[in-house]
Structures are given as C-alpha cells and as structure tokens.
Subunit: 185 residues, 4 copies
C-alpha cells in the first residue's frame, strides 16, 4: 500500500523535475518511468494517460502554495511579509515557479487545467483582497485605492518575477515600498 503511494509520488516528483528542466515540450514518459525505477508500461498502471500524470503534477505543485498569510499582522506588514516570503521562495525554489509558468501557459489551451489553477489562485486572491480592504478600512491606504487593481498588480508582479528569480526580491521590496510610502521626492 505504502509502496503504491511512494511509487506514485516518485513518478510525480520525477515528472515535476523533468518539466522544470525541459518544459512540456520535451516531456516524455519513458524517462520519467526510468527515473522512478520502473518499466514505462508500469507507469500506465499508476497514471493511465500522460494527461493524468500531468494533472497529478499540477496538484502537487499547487498543494505547495498553502497560503502563508500571517493574519495576526496589520495589513501593511502582512503585505510586506507575504511579498517577501514569495520572493524568497522564488529565489530558493525557482523550479517550482518555472513549472507554474509552464502550467499557466498550458492552461490557456486546457480548460480543466485552467480551472484547477483558478481555484487554487482564488484563495490567494481572497487573502490579498482582505489585506487591502483592511488597510483601507484602517486608513493605512487611501479610500481611493483600487483594491482589485492592487490585488492584480501584486499577482502580476509576482508572476512576472518568476522567470527572473535574481530580481524577485528587489522587485517585491520595491512594490511594497510604493504601497507603503510612495515614490515622490
């Protein structure tokens, strides 16, 4: 029983690494099976089709993004903490975000993949909305602040940082500073 779970997980891990390194374009089942130490036809016992394995990888990836929101903190600090943590994650585990990018791009042509991603992002989006709404309520930010646009800005910025991990932290900090103090002389 445990074997099964392990094998499945080994396959998902191998698939994840393969996608991170070579993208979907060069994603082939045989090397995945080989990396997991099993015959390539045995792989089909665990994942009947290639799409099934890919779906499992997506699950695996999204499951790593349990919202790390620190609700106890006041909004500005919470935003800073959140942006910092994600930027740090981009630096520490760039493959995770590379793979996410692959999935984001693929979701454009795969409805079920798009749905999974959207569901997963909703939690994130809601948490960000909460930050900004609380911040406005507490007069940290102006009542004129466009909450939705701010949320999308944060999301877009973080997504856009994924391909350049080396700039992720500076970018996150800069965005945070703009929200905190603005840029005027």
């Amino acid at each position: 029983m445990a074997e099964q779970v392990d094998r499945r997980q080994a396959l998902v891990n191998a698939a994840f690494s393969a996608i991170a390194e070579r993208g979907f374009e060069g994603f082939r089942l045989r090397p995945i099976a080989a990396a997991a130490g099993i015959d390539h036809s045995t792989l089909h016992h665990y994942f009947p089709t290639k799409a099934d394995l890919i779906a499992a990888v997506l699950q695996h990836v999204t499951s790593q993004f349990e919202a790390t929101m620190h609700v106890a903190l006041e909004p500005a600090a919470r935003l800073r903490r959140h942006l910092g943590e994600i930027a740090a994650a981009v630096v520490e585990r760039p493959e995770l975000f590379i793979v996410l990018d692959e999935f984001d791009l693929r979701a454009r042509r795969d409805a079920s993949m798009a749905a999974t991603i959207k569901r997963d992002e909703q939690g994130w989006r809601d948490a960000l909305v909460a930050i900004f709404e609380e911040g406005v309520e507490q007069r940290i930010w102006s009542v004129d602040l466009d909450v939705n646009a701010s949320v999308e800005l944060v999301i877009a910025t973080l997504k856009g940082s994924r391909l350049r991990p080396e700039t992720a932290e500076a970018v996150a900090k800069q965005l945070c500073d703009l929200f905190s103090t603005g840029a005027r002389a």
Copy 2:
C-alpha cells in the same frame, strides 16, 4: 521576387498563429506549410530546419516592439504613456504577448533564443532606466528611489500581465498611480 518574400512571410505568420494557439508543445511543421498553401517539403526550401523557422518567428515578434517611448514627455508622463500603450497592446493583440511568453519560457533552455530576447529587451530596459533617472534628477521622485528595482518592477508587472489581458490596463494604471502619488491615506 515578391513571391518569395510573401511565401516566407506567410510561413512566419502561420507559424506565429500556430504558436499563439497551440504553443510550442504542439508546434508541427506540416500544418504550417498547409496553412501557407505549400507542400511541407517546400517549407524546408525557405527554412532548412524547424529552428530556423522559429528564429524567424522570434525576429518577427520582437520587431513589433520598436520602442514607443515618447522622449519629449516629462518622465512621469512618459512612464504613464508607456505603461498605457503596452497595456493597450496586451488587450488588443494578446497573441503577441502569449507568443512572447512562450519564447521567454523556451529561452530558459535555448541559449541563442535567450540572447536574442535579451538583446531586444535591453533597449526597453535602457529606456526605462532613463525615465527613472531623469525623474529622480528632476526631483519628481525621491533620490532614494531604487532605479534598477523600479525598472525590474515595471518589466515584471507587464510580463505578469500578459497571461491576463483583461486586467492589464487596470494593473498598469495602478502601478503608475503608485509611482505618481503613492497609496497612503
């Protein structure tokens, strides 16, 4: 003579559309040739290898991004104008940005592609640096403004908006507002 150019261009256009619609993963030469109305072996007369065609598509894509900087404007207005124009382009021609995303992702595994993209982006990066440096000089923005981080923030944000065209304009405006006035109450 004109025929040649047309055929080549027709192939590049067909390839561009195919990548926009199906990504690199499903990018096959036969349908491209068919879409251009020629035999698939004739395609190789124009582009000896698949990579050659892809390179031509990349050229075609990057050539559409002639810097649209309005140097006459003062820095803040220039930034606003620039962000607005790109956001508008994302809305009007989302495929262009989708394909750019495909190339960005592919560049991670293809050095020559990475070089082409980097060269192309350098002009953009330089123009943004100029905006912020002039802005700081003219005391529009604080001398403490991290110019490089700001540039990367703008780039990351715009790249991150590519996958969600519907939010691109609001996001660009929000970023611009933060630079102009900040968000404080």
Copy 3:
C-alpha cells in the same frame, strides 16, 4: 524468450539478405521489418538504430568464419586445404562474401566497423603466418620466402575472388600450385 531470439535473428537474416541483394546503398529498414513480419517500428525495439542492426549483421557474418584451420596437417597440405575450403565456400555461399565485400568497403569510412573486421581478420592472418613459418622451418619452403608478403598475397587473392565466385576454385588451386612447386627450399 525463444521468440525474442528468433525475431532478432529473423531481422538479422533479412538484413543480411537485403545487403547481399541490394548492397548498403539500397538498404532500408522498412522492407527488413516487413520481411521479418513485424511493424517497422517494432524493429527499433530490437535494434534502436540502423547502425545497431548493421553491426549485428557484421557480427553474424564474421561469426561464420571460425578458423577452419587443420593444425594437424603439415603446412603445405594445410594451406591447400584452407584455400580449397574458402574457395568452396565462395562458390557455395557467394552472398556471404558479397556482404563481406560491402563491409570491407564500408569499413573505409566507419572506424568501428573497420575495427571489428580487423579483429576478425587477425585470427586468419595469424593462422596463415603460422603455416608459412612452419613451412620455412621444415624446409618445405625456402628460407628466402617473404612470409608476410605471402600471407597478404593469399588474403588479397581470396578477397579478389569474392566478386567472381565462378573462378574462385581455379584461382585458389593455381595459387596453391605456385606455392607447392615454386617456393621450395
């Protein structure tokens, strides 16, 4: 288990016949697979590349030339017997020698093939050297006999007979007669 060996052998046999009949120039994999009664892609299950199949054919061919030297015989008789046996083989199985010729020619441009052939020929060459050295020692042949040149002469003659099987036996006999009566001590 037996199936596997049979299929592999069937492919090698079919490949051998194809090379004998049409040479390397017209050597294509599909007809080989068809002759062995399998799909052309299944062929790649047994021989990943064309070169692998060709290498197997070479092995198969060289393995048929286990030295048929009769060490018990005295040198002159041994030479006569050897020449006679090879000439007879050229007559009985001309395809074997045709294919050998194809490989000899190909070896000029394929180092690993050249190595295999050379290794295989070394045994033959050594056995011939032994015949002539013993013959000189026993004063059957003159001490002035150039052993190496004699060995190369035998080899060249036999190789040169491959393309004209109908003359092979007369040629072998004639060469033998010359050695019998013309090189005496």
Copy 4:
C-alpha cells in the same frame, strides 16, 4: 562549347572525388553541383539523371586504364613490369581503385554497368592471356600451366589488393616471384 566540356568534366571530377571519399551510399547530387560551382538543377542539364552522371564517372575511371603492356618485353619481364605498374598505381592513386571497387560491387546489381566493366576488363584479360601463352610457348613456363587460372589469379590478386594499398607492391612482387621460380618449364 569548351565551357560545356569543362563543366561536364568538372562535374565528373567532383563526382569521382565524392564517390572515392564517401562511396555510393552517401553520393548526393547537390554537393557535386556545388563543388562544380553550379546550381543543382543546372547539373540536370548536363546529366539528366543521377545514373547518367554515374555512368560518366565509370567511363572516366575505365578510360584511365589504357593497357600499359610492354609488348616488346619477353613474357616474364612483361608480367613483372605490368604487376609492378599496377601495384605502383594502387599506391599512388588509391582513390582510383577504391572507386573501381565501388563500381565492381555495384555492377552486381546493374547490368549495364557490369557490361561496361566487362568490356573494359576484356582488354586486360586478353593481354594477360597473351603473356602466359607466349611464356608457355617459349618454354618459360611449363606446358602444364593453367593459363586461364593464372590470368584469373593475377586479376583476383590485384583486385584484392585495392583495399590495402600499403601491401599492394609486396603482394605483386610475391606473386611475380612465384611465377618466376615456381612455374618453370
């Protein structure tokens, strides 16, 4: 007019070199045309089909083997001279003999090629027959000498030497010595 002849010859020369270096297996028309400095479709103006060009190469090769028999010499000396000259040619222009080998092998599957080669060889064969018949007549060699077998032996030996130019001269000398001392009347 002279241009035409030159172009044709340039193509034949280029084709000859290509066959010498890569054999028939890798013999392609485009590189031949390129080597001759013309477009690949212009080649078809001079040689409508690939086979036509190959036939011209064969003509070119066989034309280089004008019998170099020195009829004035007495038979044994004539044989020695002839063998020496061919062996020297093998050493000096190995490509010529390599290409001949390619043609010999190909002639097995191409009747018209076989005919051309046979016709060309007939002159050689006749000259060798004359040597041995005169030699027997003049009691240089025994009346028991098998003239035809001797001729075929000479031919086989020389053909067999083609693939090993480095041994050609020693082999020719050895064969000659055997005839000198071993077939005496």
